[in-house]
Subunit: 260 residues, 2 copies
């Protein structure tokens, strides 16, 4: 022990080139990258508990604080969830990215309580995806896609109309069950039936005009203005897994953004 005392108790780059420390990445960044890869590779499934931070630190020969910083980074990225007294867990599917956060349907009902939307699958077909969708999903030419047509209702009244495109090669199990048994939330069903976890998504909002059949299904006048939300959802590895177009009454649309 005394032989290495001159190195001091804090020889930080003991396991890497001493001088070439952070060219683009500090020690905790490398650890985060390493753990990130193992999570993305599926080594630990969603919901799985990682080893204790002290164990992880010892396993990787770093101090506790360094490992904590790596874990904090992954938690900030949404890959991990840390629960005091319980452990560190791989995050599962998106809790919810409810489309209704974009809309305020006043109705005649007393406001306040958030009513849960119900959904009805109107069609389920295998067909070639339109070019922009195929591009978004990174489908090869003529590679088949699963198309869902879905109506969402609030208090029994049709409110949102959805066109959902899924790469067939990952969602084939959806062809084997009755859509009416899927429930009102698709992402949990994707995970249960197909093992596909939706981890993040981007919504793009634009303005449009309802086509006649869309207006009819939503019980709105023809050429009524619509808010269109195009969502591209990805799994934990960043692969696009769903392309969804949601249309609703433009006059009911309302959305808030915070700027800092």
């Amino acid at each position: 022990m005394d032989m290495i005392e001159h190195l001091g108790p804090t020889r930080q780059t003991a396991f890497g080139p001493p001088g070439a420390a952070p060219p683009g990445m500090a020690r905790w960044g490398s650890l985060a990258a390493l753990l990130r890869e193992r999570i993305i590779a599926g080594e630990w499934p969603p919901g799985h508990a990682l080893a204790a931070e002290s164990t992880l630190a010892a396993d990787h020969d770093v101090a506790l604080g360094t490992m904590r910083q790596a874990l904090a980074q992954l938690a900030a990225e949404g890959l991990l969830e840390r629960r005091h007294g319980k452990g560190t867990f791989v995050r599962g599917a998106l809790a919810g990215a409810p489309m209704l956060r974009f809309f305020r349907f006043g109705d005649g009902a007393v406001g306040g309580e958030p009513r849960l939307p119900t959904s009805r699958i109107l069609a389920r077909r295998v067909r070639a995806a339109p070019s922009p969708v195929a591009q978004a999903l990174r489908l090869a030419a003529r590679q088949p896609a699963l198309h869902l047509h879905r109506l969402r209702l609030l208090d029994g009244r049709p409110r949102l109309l959805e066109d959902i495109w899924l790469p067939l090669h990952r969602f084939a199990p959806l062809l084997d069950s009755e859509p009416s048994t899927w429930g009102d939330l698709l992402y949990p069903h994707y995970e249960a039936a197909c093992g596909v976890t939706v981890h993040r998504a981007t919504d793009e909002i634009r303005f449009g005009i309802l086509k006649p059949n869309e207006a009819r299904l939503l019980e709105l006048p023809v050429s009524h203005p619509a808010a269109v939300v195009q969502r591209l959802a990805s799994d934990i590895a960043g692969c696009a897994v769903e392309c969804r177009f949601t249309r609703g009454d433009a006059h009911a649309f309302r959305y808030s953004v915070a700027i800092t």
Copy 2:
């Protein structure tokens, strides 16, 4: 020294009740709150450099790491900005919350380069604010407001129309200068002319119909659909300082949101 050795080197709650540590706030949280108050109170103006973290730590009798966590918290809140090798600074006005991020005006020009919008103040009046605006700005009844009517152009073509409401008691200096000298960005002018720093804002988006005079100014047909962005901007203390309504062609509207 040896006399207190039995306390160990890590008597952490030496300056607080030993057992009642985090009832709702840990040590670093209290430090953050303390510094936050001093920043909000204006003790350090925007752009001011704080003392070195080591100095701050010593001043408050905490370890470096504890003070670092407090400073990191404030940086995450957007109150501070830390620059490696330089120091820790109080953040100034919002760099920019460009309205044009909501719109894509394709034009006939080659895409790519972000063209800067110019602005033209069409009117500047002192008048009572409409009730919703007065409520948003927390103005007392009949307390006067400054109203600006502003047109924003891209490549010389009118694109956005803005109604801006300001509490007169903080923006009186705006009555003393020629609006054409204000430049194209208002927030820096607010800071320079009135000492009001816009620190954060929320945008609320909806769709509506242009009124005849609005359509005329934007060179669009009457009753053309419009995207309406209502922005409520606040200063560093969280006081609402500006209520702004921006209207533009709904068909040019496009906005992206990331969900994680």
